[in-house]
Amino acid sequence: MKLKVIIASVVIILFIIFGSVSFLQSNVEYTDVTGAMQKHKKVQLKGQWIKDKGSSFDPATTQFTFFLVDDSGKECKVVLDGAAPNNFELATSVVAKGRFTDEGYFHASEVLTKCPSKYEAQGSDVKKQS
């Protein structure tokens, strides 16, 4: 009986450690450009698209490139695998998931766009005779 309890507790403790370690390791933290440059691991880079610098899609490499500026004003080139994300032109801010490369750009596997409360209705929308 004693042995049973000990084995069960060890298994449970190992399980908790396994779960917590996996959790902490795979936690993708939000950061700014400086943070992304320092940490050479997967992060979520939050910022805004610099419209003046444009954006381009290269059909040869199927990569989408744009420039991002974070809240502190630091700029960074972002290369996304794939085409421009949905609502890219309208987004108030974007979140790029990926890592900063040695070549000096942020290599993103996914870019999420945050749109100006697109599902939140306003009184003016009601009046619009759509």
Partner: protein
């Protein structure tokens, strides 16, 4: 008005029903019981009337109701129009309430026959009550002028609604939420029975009436999860059937807990053990439903998910917190109070017994549920730890569930090969021989064909072991009594599904491709040719791609369209099922050959006197050129030309001067570019345009202008280049081998559940008959004996 009143009537009736049931429990009286039942039925009828009223508002386009205006429009087809009923939060809570009510009517009859009615219906009524409170708070009958006070005048009738999110405009929208919410609703029943058991101090018998409901709920919820996965795969173009998204996880977790409960309840039926475990698991299915609802509906996940979770306001947040506190509190308080008196069987469990395998299996399922819950709650956990919200990466779910999956695969086989209470080790080990060798062979062959990680190979071993053991055992059961095959069939389905997970995730090949119109391109052994697009109605366009693969030809036509609702590009993939694999094409965008207008244009910011390179030329900003009578002209309302004098140094060394200007005409600015000939012939040169100007009055040196230089030769070259080329379709092509294993596995799994439901409900009816007819032997008394015919244990779900 009517709607809001109806909801409140239902609330009061439900409250009175719960109160009557509780009073009847304290002092039984036929009158009270009659009132309690009648009030509950009134509650349900009122809920149905409320729902009917909302539906009629939607069908007749009463856009003065905010909910109707927000989610529907005149253009929707009838099935989709009906589905807008639950497109928003208010309506989906209403759907949940309806199914809880309908299930309650059956539960009332069922529980009264089992002698559990007052307790079960009091607790179940409490769930109904909580949902009605939610409906009072999130009222779907609000009028637009009440929702937007001051912005919309009373009595205003919008001409049309905002419409349904195009992502939801799909036939799955008609069926999937219905199935999911009836699954959620049925999870309330095991909770009610478990709490009733604690109230009645009847700790062991409750599992018998509760089991069919638990299996039913698990089947329905499982079906709903599968439908969601298929929806995501087939039309949403997420590339897969499962993305570990909070919304998906929130239906998976209660399902896992229910499955764990089904297994330990089975062990209790056979051995009398696991009494406390089952009380906890029986209640947990519903806790998990409520907690998941809290995660996905209260807005706590914030921006951390792809899904946009609209913040529903503090009211809903606190109501959901309240629901967790009330139901968790009620269950746990009773459990703690009664803990000591709950019987604990003295029998020692042998490690070589089926119940031990079942207990381990349930523990593995609960562990999976906990890991998934922790992952889904990661924004809450990181908020506590670091003070800012962030989500775990998807790899978290795969790395943590893979080892547990190995264990689950093995246990589905081991459990079937073991006897109840005690098996002879030698016999057990001998029975392992065949399935273990089949599994080893499978894992080795697969690992030899394709490079695999060790854990993945182990996962394949586990699944193959479970598969072969269950086929062996299942076959013998079917020869005996097919009704008992539910468990074996469900386990076969699970194993097939597991193999499908590996095949479709590890062997998935995915490439982003750019297909120029009319130009064949070979990727992953598939020759693809984009042949153009055509309208398919509703302003949608199908992009046809001709595919040639090993002598087979077919066409896929993914869809893209602009949606005014989301103000963005919507994309639907197209899938071709090739039996052994799926060919999946998800469109990304349609690109013009090259951007002619921007080709060869270079923009520079120049300070006074500064020189910078702009493409092939150097540009120097010499000075501004403002007319001396600028002020007078402006005051007179005449056109004013302002410019900048620049020097352009050509590649051949010649320096030319240009004065690009801006013309101010009644407050409007227009560009007046200057051209610079590249050589004496002046055929193709450069066009110089003046951008924004920043004159600095105090320190002239700091003045700057923006100048763009367009190389006309380069532009012409780009245009010539583009003329011969077609549009480029950018898409993600993927080959998913054996994904059909996943779908067939899920279907086999659900068939297993159905077999079990039929068996258990027949048994329950027989048991009820036996209770009325004490001479007849209760089927459970037969116990395992007849099932042991040829030395193999039966598979029981």
């Amino acid at each position: 008005m009517i709607g809001s009143i109806l909801v409140k009537v239902a609330f009061i009736a439900c409250l009175a029903s719960v109160a009557s049931y509780l009073q009847h429990r304290r002092r039984p009286s036929p009158n009270l019981l009659f009132y309690a039942r009648a009030l509950y039925l009134i509650t349900v009828v009122t809920i149905l009337a409320t729902a009917g009223y909302l539906l009629s508002l939607i069908l007749t386009h009463q856009f003065q109701y905010t909910y109707v205006w927000s989610y529907s429009s005149r253009e929707l087809s009838l099935p989709l129009l009906i589905s807008t009923f639950y497109a928003g939060q208010e309506g989906s809570f209403m759907l949940w309430t309806i199914y809880t009510g309908l299930i309650g009517v059956f539960l009332l009859r069922h529980s009264s026959r089992k002698g559990y009615e007052p307790e079960v219906m009091a607790v179940y009524g409490l769930i109904q009550l909580a949902l009605l409170v939610m409906l009072i708070a999130k009222n779907p009958f609000k009028l637009v002028w009440d929702s937007f006070p001051g912005q919309v005048e009373a009595g205003f009738l919008p001409a049309n609604g905002r419409g349904l999110n195009p992502l939801l405009q799909n036939y799955w929208m008609v069926i999937h939420p219905q199935v999911l919410f009836s699954g959620f609703a049925s999870m309330g029943v095991p909770y009610a029975y478990a709490v009733a058991a604690l109230l009645k101090r009847d700790y062991t018998r409750w599992i018998r009436p509760a089991t069919p409901w638990l299996v039913f709920g698990a089947t329905i919820l499982g079906t709903g999860i599968m439908m969601g996965g298929f929806w995501a795969y087939e039309t949403l173009g997420w590339g897969g059937y499962w993305g570990w998204d909070p919304v998906e996880n929130s239906s998976l977790v209660p399902w896992l807990v229910a499955i764990a409960g089904i297994h330990t309840i089975l062990a209790q039926r056979k051995t009398g053990g696991f009494v406390r475990t089952n009380l906890v698991l029986g209640m947990s299915c519903f806790f998990m439903v409520v907690y998941s609802t809290f995660l996905t509906r209260s807005g706590v996940l914030g921006d951390t998910s792809v899904h946009s979770f609209v913040d529903p306001g503090m009211m809903v947040y606190w109501l959901l917190v309240g629901m967790i506190v009330v139901f968790l509190g009620l269950g746990m308080t009773l459990l703690v109070m009664r803990w000591k008196e709950i019987p604990k069987p003295k029998s020692q469990h042998s490690y070589s017994s089926r119940e031990f395998a079942l207990a381990l299996g349930s523990a593995a399922l609960v562990a999976t549920a906990l890991l998934v819950t922790a992952g889904t709650s990661s924004p809450l956990i990181t908020d506590l730890l670091y003070g800012k919200k962030s989500a775990v990466d998807i790899t978290y779910y795969t790395t943590t569930t893979l080892p547990i999956g190995v264990l689950i695969g093995l246990l589905t086989g081991i459990g079937q090969l073991l006897w109840w209470s005690r098996s002879k080790w030698t016999e057990f080990l001998r029975s392992l021989a065949v399935p273990a060798s089949v599994a080893l062979a499978t894992a080795v062959v697969v690992a030899w064909l394709v490079p695999l990680g060790f854990l993945t190979a182990l996962f394949i071993f586990g699944a193959a072991f479970g598969l072969s053991a269950n086929i062996m055992v299942g076959w013998r059961i079917v020869k005996g009594n097919p009704k008992f095959a539910g468990g074996a069939v469900a386990h076969i389905g699970l194993a097939v599904m597991f193999l499908g997970f590996v095949a479709s995730s590890k062997f998935d090949e995915k490439r982003t491709i750019s297909l120029e119109q009319g130009k064949p391109q070979s990727v992953m052994g598939y020759q693809m040719t984009y042949t153009g697009y055509h309208p398919i109605g509703n302003d949608k366009y199908a992009f046809r791609v001709h595919v040639l693969h090993e002598g087979r030809e077919f066409t896929v036509a993914p869809i893209m369209y602009y949606s005014a609702y989301t103000d963005g590009l919507m994309r639907n993939p197209d899938v071709r099922n090739l039996i052994s694999r799926d060919f999946y094409l998800a469109p990304l965008s349609l690109e013009q050959p090259s951007n002619i207008a921007e080709a060869g244009t270079h923009k520079v910011q120049l300070k006074l006197g500064e020189t910078k390179k702009a493409g092939t030329v150097d540009v120097r900003f010499v000075d501004f050129e403002f007319p001396s009578d600028q002020r007078e002209k402006m005051l007179a309302g005449q056109d004013v030309e302002i410019g900048a004098r620049v020097q352009v140094r050509l590649p051949n060394g010649a320096t030319m001067e240009a004065v690009p200007k801006k013309i101010m005409h009644q407050g409007q600015m227009t560009d007046k570019p200057a051209t610079v000939a590249s050589d004496a012939t002046g055929s193709e040169g450069y066009e110089v345009t003046l951008g924004t100007m920043h004159p600095d009055q105090e320190n002239r040196e700091n003045s700057s202008v923006e100048i763009s230089v367009k190389d006309l030769a380069a532009v012409a070259a780009a245009a010539r280049d583009a003329a011969g080329k077609g549009d480029i379709l950018v898409a993600e092509a993927s080959v998913k081998p054996y994904i059909n294993l996943v779908w067939s596995g899920v279907i086999i799994l659900l068939v297993g559940f159905l077999i079990t439901i039929v068996r258990r409900s027949q048994e329950a009816t027989a048991a009820a008959e036996a209770a009325r007819n004490p001479d007849r032997v209760e089927p459970e008394a037969r116990d395992v004996a007849p099932e042991l015919a040829d030395g193999v244990q039966s598979g029981i779900a």
